[in-house]
């Protein structure tokens, strides 16, 4: 019963946050100076065709209708909300008319998910494990060395880091493919296909892992070096508990709580794709979809992708709130 009330009130906040977010998503692109219909007209005309003004208006009307941009802002808003919350249908992509947005996202999403889930988790596990060790042994040389490394790698602009990796791995050493390509010989979801997908994703994944590693490492190190000074850790030492167990059960289990929260947020963000990674490695994920949507003023696609990530992130935080009491016994549903 207490849980039900908690769930209900939390759910309410969730819905309000999503609603406000979605409204912003609806409004922001409409404040853009670009009118996709005019942009399309401009593009058509810049390629050499010319028309009478009346003709232009006729095309404009038909494009407006086919893009679902008819009616007042309020009517569009209602239609938008209906689509978001009831059918999750964002209509056709404007730039890739008439391919539905949902289909474009559906095609891109598995790639982003695969890449980011794997690399995020790997970075998380690595960063936290090593960060834990380094935080626990914060006075030892290796800990300081690792911290130095993380501090050094973390601020390198991602674009540069990834390019350096492409040059090193793909070009100087030639051991990894530098951009995404799947052979047509491979039937989807055979073992070879999966292997090829993984092989193609190693470099982008590695670049994400390296960058994220720094963040997880630094935060875990900070957390665990604070926790290592807690009395119960001291007392565990007095109990004669082995170092490994102290680290895993006494330090890690407490330090991991905020890291899990962050992980959930980051995992929610997985639905955003990894913009720069995807551009750089021509990776077919949501990030490059968002990018091309912006480039082509593709309202529907933009709204679809951003709505998805708002939903994903807020759902992730919602879920974290729900499962948190299972992770931390001190927390009750308030």
């Amino acid at each position: 019963m207490r849980f039900a009330v908690f769930l209900l009130s939390r759910l309410l906040t969730y819905v309000i946050v999503v609603w406000i977010g979605m409204t912003a998503v609806f409004l922001v692109p409409r404040l853009m100076p670009t009118d996709p219909v005019s942009a399309m007209l401009g593009r058509v005309m810049s390629q050499g065709a010319f028309m009478e003004p009346a003709q232009v208006e006729a095309i404009r009307a038909s494009l407006t209708a086919s893009f679902g941009l008819e009616g007042t802002l309020w009517e569009q808003y209602l239609g938008f909300m209906r689509r978001v919350f009831i059918t999750f249908d964002f209509g056709p992509s404007l730039a890739m008319f008439p391919t539905p947005v949902s289909q474009l996202i559906g095609r891109a999403l598995p790639w982003s998910l695969g890449l980011l889930l794997a690399s995020t988790l790997i970075a998380w596990v690595l960063g936290n494990t090593i960060g834990l060790l380094a935080g626990y042994h914060r006075l030892r040389a290796y800990s300081k060395f690792l911290e130095g490394f993380a501090v050094l790698v973390y601020p390198i602009p991602y674009y540069i880091l990834a390019l350096i990796m492409i040059i090193l791995f793909g070009y100087v050493w030639g051991i990894l493919p530098t951009n995404f390509s799947m052979s047509p010989m491979l039937k989807p979801w055979t073992l070879d296909y999966v292997w090829a997908a993984i092989y193609n994703s190693i470099l982008p994944a590695l670049s994400i892992v390296i960058v994220n590693f720094g963040w997880w490492f630094l935060s875990m190190k900070a957390l665990s070096s604070t926790l290592a000074e807690e009395e119960y850790v001291d007392f565990a030492k007095l109990k004669g508990v082995g170092e490994g167990r102290i680290m895993s059960r006494y330090v890690a289990q407490n330090a991991i709580l905020p890291q899990i929260t962050m992980l959930a947020l980051v995992l929610g963000g997985v639905f955003n794709g990894a913009l720069i990674t995807e551009i750089l490695f021509s990776y077919p994920g949501v990030g490059s979809l968002i990018y091309s949507a912006v480039l082509q003023a593709d309202y529907n696609l933009l709204m679809g992708t951003i709505s998805l990530s708002i939903l994903a992130v807020s759902t992730a935080t919602f879920v974290v709130d729900l499962i948190y009491p299972f992770i931390d016994p001190r927390i009750r549903y308030r």
């Binding site: 977010g21 853009m32 050094l152 540069i160």
Partner: protein, 274 residues
């Protein structure tokens, strides 16, 4: 003690160097380094051109100084504004409570939940015409205030419970005086750390926007310097002085700020321990 001072000193020293580079050096620039073709192109570093020249005929060293200045402006502008707005909003929410609190908290949640990067790209592409460094800063502020706001709200809530606040009340102090004299001194230390972190976040965010061409490309920032260097294939073309200068500067700046902020927090921890 010695450790803290080392960190703090090293951090401060690095920051001082960056500061000299970004704030003092531009005053001595012999010409506006943003202007193209004032120098022979693609010279390697030499005595005349400490960091060589770019493919666009600019002196890399002076360009770097100029860029560092602008990046510092963005970093500190965003950090200060976001922290101030965040702290004000958070304190208001925490102290006023009730409906105000709920609305502000909701607002913070929304801004935290809405994915910033796509929106950032969207806004940047909207504002492209007038994307001065101040506008870019403005956009970054919008996405950076909720974090300090959340923090300072919870700090305000917990500070309200601190006993010395009651002592101050019984000393006859009024509400706002309590906030200023009792609460602020505790928030400032934290706010300063937040500020330093936000400086990094802002400089980083600006440079990622710049790399995909969405910042104010005519202004020179460390990000746009990277953009132009990449545009002119400085990386593959082995013009390391051009692409390397801003990258190394960002990295060094990060290390400086990192050392400085951890040094500070360690020092304040030590102070408390005493």
């Amino acid at each position: 003690m010695s450790k803290t001072n080392t960190r703090l000193l090293l951090g401060a020293a690095i920051l001082a160097v960056i500061f000299v580079l970004g704030v003092v050096m531009p005053l001595f620039a012999p010409e506006d380094p943003r202007i193209w073709n004032t120098q022979p192109r693609n010279l390697k570093p030499s005595v005349d051109h400490l960091l060589g020249t770019t493919n666009l005929g600019q002196d890399t060293f002076w360009l770097l100084a100029w860029s560092t200045r602008n990046s510092l402006i963005i970093g500190f502008l965003v950090a200060i504004a976001a922290t101030v707005i965040g702290v004000l909003a958070g304190m208001t929410a925490g102290f006023v409570g009730g409906v105000v609190d709920r609305v502000l908290t909701l607002l913070m949640d929304v801004f935290i939940v809405v994915p910033s990067l796509p929106i950032l790209i969207l806004l940047a592409s909207m504002l492209q015409g007038k994307a001065s460094i101040y506008l870019i800063s403005g956009i970054l502020i919008i996405f950076n205030w909720p974090w300090p706001a959340r923090q300072s709200r919870s700090m305000a809530l917990s500070m309200r419970e601190r006993e010395f606040v009651n002592t101050a009340w019984f000393s006859g102090e009024q509400g706002w005086k309590i906030i200023i004299r009792e609460i602020f001194p505790f928030i400032t230390a934290w706010a300063f750390a937040n500020l330093i972190n936000t400086v990094l976040v802002a400089i980083g965010a600006e440079s990622s926007l710049a790399v995909i061409g969405l910042s104010s490309l005519q202004e020179s920032t460390l990000g746009t310097m990277i953009y132009w260097a990449l545009q002119h294939q400085a990386l593959l073309g082995r013009r390391w002085w051009w692409i390397g200068a801003p990258v190394v500067t960002i990295v060094v700046m990060f290390i400086g700020l990192f050392l400085f902020s951890t040094g500070l927090s360690e020092r304040s921890a030590e102070r408390r321990g005493r």
